[in-house]
């Protein structure tokens, strides 16, 4: 009706396009350093916090950084392996 599923014309990259902020390797490196730094800083901050016990291990220094890392890794691998037998080409239902 009012919207076409695939508009024929999407403007494309011009051959002489100037690189943007995220294109510069220097900036990407800066972001990577900031990311690692923020993990380290939060890990360090956890040493100063006293939690009221919930799960049981909270007062192991840096507990929630480790918890977050572990939970994410487990979720990603469970999804990856569990999803394997369920994956189909995205036109599977189209006939």
């Amino acid at each position: 009706m009012s919207f076409a599923p695939h508009p024929p014309e999407i403007p494309r990259k011009a051959p002489d396009e100037a690189p943007g902020w995220f294109d510069r390797p220097k900036n990407v490196r800066l972001l990577k350093i900031l990311a690692v730094l923020s993990v380290v800083v939060m890990f360090g901050l956890d040493f100063t916090i006293h939690y009221h016990q919930y799960l049981g291990g909270e007062n192991i220094p840096g507990f929630y950084t480790l918890f977050g890392l572990l939970a994410s890794v487990v979720l990603i691998f469970v999804a990856k392996l569990g999803g394997k037998p369920l994956k189909r080409k995205d036109d599977y239902y189209d006939e």
Binding site: M1, S2, F3, A4, P5, H6, P7, I10, P11, R12, K13, A14, G20, F22, A35, V36, S38, V39, M42, F43, L45, D46, I49, H50, Y51, Y54, L55, G62, Y64, T65, L66, F67, G68, L69, A71, S72, V73, V74, L75, I76, F77, V78, A79, K80, G82, G83, L86, K87, R88, K89, D90, Y92, Y93, D94
Partner: protein, 614 residues
């Protein structure tokens, strides 16, 4: 507007403004339609603003009463966010040319507002069905073949849910001596269980959940935004009203939050990712309803409010990309930060909010539910597990919605696409919602004041040092894990099978394998009864000798041939040819014309009547 004017708007339930508005929108010319849609939405919001707790209106109906306005604190929270969403959506959808989506959306929103302000189960049911029908119109308005098919599956699921709910209401009302009041229930009979099932289908609780990621990603760019807000959240409202404190829901909600993450991590289409993400977030709410303490219910209401804001913001961002590029699959997108920076920024606000980043609205609502689990976990293993699952799910939210969505759409591999920035109307709507997300994150008081239980009595503070540090720790850790495992998360052009497989592939296969041979047998039986046997009988009546000879020759050639001489067989074959010709010339029996059939039926009825009467 003065409070008196607001109160005078509120003599009629807010749903009525939207439904009357929808009828007006269907008939006015196109030039008036868009301003009128904004006006109607604004009046509806003003009407909600004028509602007072405890207000009550009933409508006479067939000798009974429909409690069509029954305002309590919980319904007011949902009323506010629904009316607000509709208003912002009318701005976002300013580009719409057709009337189907706009009219359907207003009816759908009217249904949702009707449900949250309904005081009895019959009113609730009527609005419930209005939502089912009108939301199907919103999906259909996308105008694609796949949307039409998805809409048909969607409406089948919701009508099934509606029928279960109606049965439940009837049984429950009979058990209560005809009392239809909608309030807290115990799961003590078939009625409440069926009602729960009807609610669960709309809440997208697994395994009744596949309709959501099947249908929502098929909507138009603006249609999906609207769809994401209402059906599951009205369900959260009715579950919180009827089944707060039901232990079953703690487990269901926790499971649901993980189920959503599992699929969201696997999916490729950005709008499918966001649809599964709805299930994940509603899982938190269902879990909170199961916990059922005042803090948990406050958390559920606040989280539903905040969730609608940031989830519609995420869908708006994905919708703007779809509107400009016609694409929503991660494998076909990437690198859009160059030309759609504002869409990126607003999408990021939504992504950070859903991840419950401090200073966004997710941070002031989700920890209430998690905190309610923590408060009771010392003496309940169930709550201990719930707390653990909700914490794991919190990390998972930032993975799939917080990082995956913006990363693959706006960054990742540059596909060379340079679409225009989203139209101003879309940016304006996204800007308003972003403002609300951050505004409530920094200053939650207006929302907290709306909640059912006075926050001062609950002893909950969102911004304490340990909350902030804990949340930031988990967020940066999960972000770090995402980029560490990026190769594992590489997108493929696939979908991941969900329970809709059973009705999309399983059922047709079942028909082919099991019912196929059965149909063949019935076909043979039908041909025998209607054709072979009557024709044989007619031929026999005309020519008994010929019929007997035909049967004998057929038997001879078919079965007993091996025992006869060649000459006998030749003779039989020659005879058969002649007989076969005469047999074929016989009609299979005259069909009775309709008139005769009706006459015979009338006579049969007359005989029946006479025997019945005397």
């Amino acid at each position: 507007m003065s409070s008196l004017a607001l109160a005078s708007l509120a003599v009629v339930p807010p749903a009525v403004y939207l439904i009357v508005g929808a009828i007006l929108l269907a008939v006015v010319p196109r030039t008036v339609r868009r301003p009128l849609s904004v006006l109607v939405a604004a009046v509806t919001l003003a009407c909600v603003a004028g509602l007072e707790k405890g207000a009550h209106e009933a409508l006479s109906f067939w000798g009974g009463e429909l409690q069509w306005l029954d305002v309590d604190a919980l319904s007011l929270v949902f009323g506010w966010i629904f009316a607000l969403t509709i208003l912002v959506w009318t701005i976002y959808a300013w580009h719409l040319k057709g009337r189907l989506e706009l009219v359907s959306a207003f009816l759908y929103g009217g249904g949702a507002l009707g449900v949250v302000f309904a005081g009895d189960l019959l009113t609730l049911f009527l609005y419930w069905e209005l939502m089912a029908i009108a939301s199907t119109g919103v999906i259909l308005a996308a105008g694609t073949t796949s949307a039409r098919k998805a809409a048909m599956r969607y409406v089948c699921v919701h009508f099934t849910g509606g029928v279960l709910l109606l049965f439940g209401i009837a049984i429950h009302a009979a058990a209560q001596g005809g009392d239809l009041t909608f309030g807290a229930m115990e799961l003590d009979g078939a009625g409440p269980w069926l009602i729960l099932l009807g609610f669960a289908i709309n809440a997208a609780m697994p395994p009744f959940s596949a309709w959501l990621p099947d249908a929502y990603p098929e909507g138009s760019p603006s249609g999906s935004v609207f769809l994401s807000a209402f059906t599951t959240k009205t369900s959260v409202y009715v579950l919180a009203t009827a089944f707060a404190g039901t232990d079953l829901l703690i487990g269901m909600g926790a499971f649901m939050s993980l189920y959503g993450i599992f699929y969201a991590l696997n999916e490729n289409d950005a709008r499918r990712v966001l649809s599964y993400s709805i299930m994940n977030q509603v899982g938190f709410m269902i879990c909170g309803i199961g916990i059922g303490t005042p803090l948990a219910i406050n958390g559920v209401a606040a989280h539903a409010f905040c969730h609608i804001l940031y989830k519609s913001l995420l869908f708006m961002s994905a919708g703007a990309v779809l509107y400009r590029t016609g694409r929503s699959k991660c494998t076909e997108l990437g690198g859009l930060w160059r030309t759609m920076p504002w869409t990126l920024v607003f999408g990021l606000v939504g992504a950070l909010s859903i991840s419950a980043m401090p200073l966004t609205n997710g941070f002031i609502s989700k920890p209430m539910i998690v905190g309610a689990a923590a408060a009771g976990m010392a003496d309940s293993t169930l709550l201990w597990v719930a707390y653990l699952v909700l914490m794991v799910a919190s990390a998972g939210v930032s993975l799939h919605a917080g990082i995956k969505f913006p990363w693959f759409v706006f960054f990742a591999e540059d596909k060379g696409l340079r679409p225009k920035e989203a139209p101003f109307s879309m940016l304006l709507a996204m800007g308003i919602v972003s403002f609300l997300c951050i505004g409530l994150g920094c200053y939650p008081k207006p929302l907290y004041d709306l909640l059912p239980t006075d926050m001062a009595t609950l002893g909950f503070q969102a911004y304490t040092l340990d909350h902030v540090v804990l949340q930031l720790e988990v967020l940066v850790a999960s972000g770090f894990a995402f980029f560490l495992l990026l190769p594992v998360l590489k997108r493929t052009p696939t979908i991941t099978l969900d329970t809709d497989w059973f009705y999309r592939k399983g059922a047709p296969r079942f028909v082919a394998w099991v019912a196929g041979p059965l149909m063949g047998a019935f076909g043979w039986l039908s041909r025998s009864v209607h054709e072979t046997v009557p024709r044989g009988l007619r031929y026999f009546a005309k020519n008994p000798g010929g019929a007997a000879r035909l049967a004998y020759d057929r038997f001879l050639l078919g079965w007993a041939g091996a025992f006869r001489s060649m000459e006998a067989i030749d003779r039989a074959q020659a005879r058969l040819q002649g007989d076969q010709g005469r047999y074929e010339a016989t009609s299979p029996g005259a069909a009775w014309p309709i008139g005769t059939t009706v006459l015979y039926s009338a006579v049969a009825f007359l005989i029946f009547l006479l025997t019945y009467l005397f």
